[in-house]
């Protein structure tokens, strides 16, 4: 299957032909793949070289000049390394931009910590005004990219080689109800959906799916959680565990509730291998999810 990153490059390249406001800013990564688009639009496909602070500052400047810029590289180099530039050259200038990362929390498992950014969403959470999309499939990634390009604000699109086998029809209205149950509510974010469905197969649980995690669809979560027999909620996120705990707690603030937040561990995992190895190490494989979810629920979630 084509990866989200490949779909992003193809879609952005096509959009450059039809949207003269669009610009793409790169720092070497993916520049080769953008070469055909760069040949057609030399003034709107910009490779700044290995200069990630400049990557974001140029993005801010392009927005100030009236373009719709996309900036792209791996999440550690896009969000973490130039974080002050994100805060000041985008937020403090109050301009819009689309930041597209590919690499996720452990796509590049054998590359080690320097190429892994499970903290990216949590870090952006310290800033106001960011829409954050976490697609679970290349089709979702394409639809969300097209949405982001046609809008005006600040958008982070987090792509990964981790995907669900099938796309979920993307709705702009928030969390989707995948199935309903009475013994609790699980919110699966992006590529976590399939593992969550596999892990909770046969259990009497509501499963919600989010490919957009900010703004956080508090209303859908509260409605689903309140409809179950017990207001016990489990978040399963493909990045740092607990990233959306505050949002979920705020959503459920007027209900007695219990909350379990699953995701990538904070301690550095000094192991290599494959993304599947890392998912298992973080307890995010289907069997581990089943064990942790049933262990958390007060009553056995039997259908």
């Amino acid at each position: 299957m084509e990866t989200m990153r490949e779909r992003f490059i193809a879609t952005a390249s096509e959009l450059l032909d039809t949207d003269e406001r669009l610009a793409v800013v790169l720092a070497v990564i993916s520049a080769d793949q953008f070469a055909p688009a760069a040949a057609r639009h030399p003034d709107r496909v910009i490779n700044v070289g290995i200069r990630e602070q400049l990557l974001i500052s140029v993005t801010g400047g392009l927005a100030l000049a009236g373009l719709r810029p996309i900036a792209h590289t791996f999440p550690s180099f896009l969000i973490e390394r130039p974080f002050e530039q994100i805060k000041l050259d985008l937020g403090h200038q109050d301009v819009g931009a689309v930041l597209v990362s590919s690499g996720g929390s452990y796509d590049m498992a054998a590359m080690g910590r320097t190429h892994q950014a499970p903290g990216d969403v949590a870090l952006l959470d310290t800033l106001d005004g960011w829409t954050i999309h976490v697609p679970g499939h290349p089709d979702e990634a394409e639809a969300l990219l097209r949405d982001a390009v046609s809008a005006d604000g600040r958008v982070y699109l987090r792509l990964s080689t981790e995907t669900n086998p099938a796309p979920f029809p993307t709705s702009r209205s928030g969390f989707e109800v995948v199935r309903t149950g009475n013994a609790g509510t699980v919110l699966a974010v992006g590529p976590m959906l399939q593992a969550v469905l596999d892990g909770t197969a046969g259990l009497d649980l509501t499963v919600l799916y989010a490919s957009t995690i900010r703004p956080f669809d508090a209303r859908s979560l509260r409605t689903a959680a309140a409809a179950a027999r017990t207001t016990e909620v489990i978040l399963v996120e493909p990045y740092l565990a607990g990233t959306s705990s505050r949002e979920a707690a705020d959503a459920l603030a007027d209900l007695p509730h219990r909350l379990l937040s699953l995701g990538v561990g904070r301690a550095e995992l000094r192991h290599y291998g494959t993304p599947a190895d890392h998912a298992a190490a973080h307890g995010l494989d289907p069997a581990s999810l089943r064990q942790r979810i049933t262990g958390f629920l007060r009553e056995a979630p039997l259908a």
């Binding site: 003269e20 610009a23 003034d43 709107r44 910009i46 700044v48 070289g49 200069r51 602070q53 400049l54 500052s57 140029v58 993005t59 801010g60 400047g61 392009l62 927005a63 100030l64 000049a65 009236g66 373009l67 810029p69 002050e84 530039q85 000041l88 050259d89 403090h92 200038q93 109050d94």
Partner: protein, 236 residues
């Protein structure tokens, strides 16, 4: 004692009014020298060089001036007031809770201010982006000017922008460096040589000589970005 005529019609203030306008803004005296060091360059820019109009702030064809050296903005605010971008009645409120005049400028609060600044090393890279954006939109007339300090050039982010702009021949970009010799370790060979090595056009002038400043800012520099190093009194 003369009182400042805050009701004076915009556009009738001259260079001689600037110190009086600046004196209305108190509280940031730590940065008085920073403000004074930029005064002549700012005046020449707004009085003789920039194609800008307070009545047409959104004109796509306007020149863009990005103040990167955002601390001690009193000279900037005074020049903007003299040229009709800021209402002089706002000056005494400088730094107050509800004032749009902060100790660092904010583009959201002050139309006519192109970037919000205060953290050093951001304006030059932003200016490179603006210059690229104008090129991407096929706007070939407007120029992008940015003002930095010599110590501000210690920031690595500035060098990313300098190397890149020179490499791609960003000729609609002009950087003015106010050199008050305050960089911690200085630059072997001087500032102009660094720009020259990075494929810029570079000139050094007396930062208080209006005619020299104007000539340096408007000197042709085909195919290259341009740096004007304006030397002023050493800070220390």
């Amino acid at each position: 004692m003369e009182t400042t005529d805050l009701a004076r019609t915009p556009g009738t203030f001259g260079y001689g009014d600037l110190h009086r306008l600046m004196s209305l803004m108190t509280g940031d005296e730590k940065h008085d020298a920073a403000a004074t060091s930029t005064l002549d360059v700012l005046w020449v820019l707004y009085d003789r060089v920039l194609n800008v109009d307070p009545c047409d702030l959104g004109d796509d064809e306007r020149d863009r001036f990005l103040l990167s050296k955002g601390h001690g903005p009193m000279a900037y605010y005074a020049v903007l007031t003299a040229k009709g971008f800021i209402d002089a009645a706002l000056l005494p409120g400088f730094g107050n809770f509800d004032s749009p005049l902060g100790y660092h400028p904010d583009r959201v609060l002050l139309p006519g201010v192109e970037i919000s600044s205060g953290s050093l090393g951001h304006g030059l890279p932003l200016a490179a982006g603006v210059a690229l954006g104008l090129r991407g939109r096929r706007l070939s007339r407007p120029r992008v000017f940015t003002l930095v300090g010599d110590a501000e050039l210690d920031e690595g982010s500035g060098h990313e922008a300098i190397a890149f702009a020179g490499a791609v021949g960003l000729e609609n970009l002009v950087v003015i460096v106010i050199d008050n010799m305050s960089s911690t370790y200085g630059w072997p060979g001087g500032i102009a040589a660094r720009f020259d090595r990075d494929r810029w056009s570079a000139r050094t002038v007396d930062g208080h000589d209006h005619a020299a400043i104007e000539a340096a800012l408007t000197a042709p520099h085909p195919g290259r970005p341009h740096a004007v190093i304006a030397v002023v009194e050493p800070k220390y």
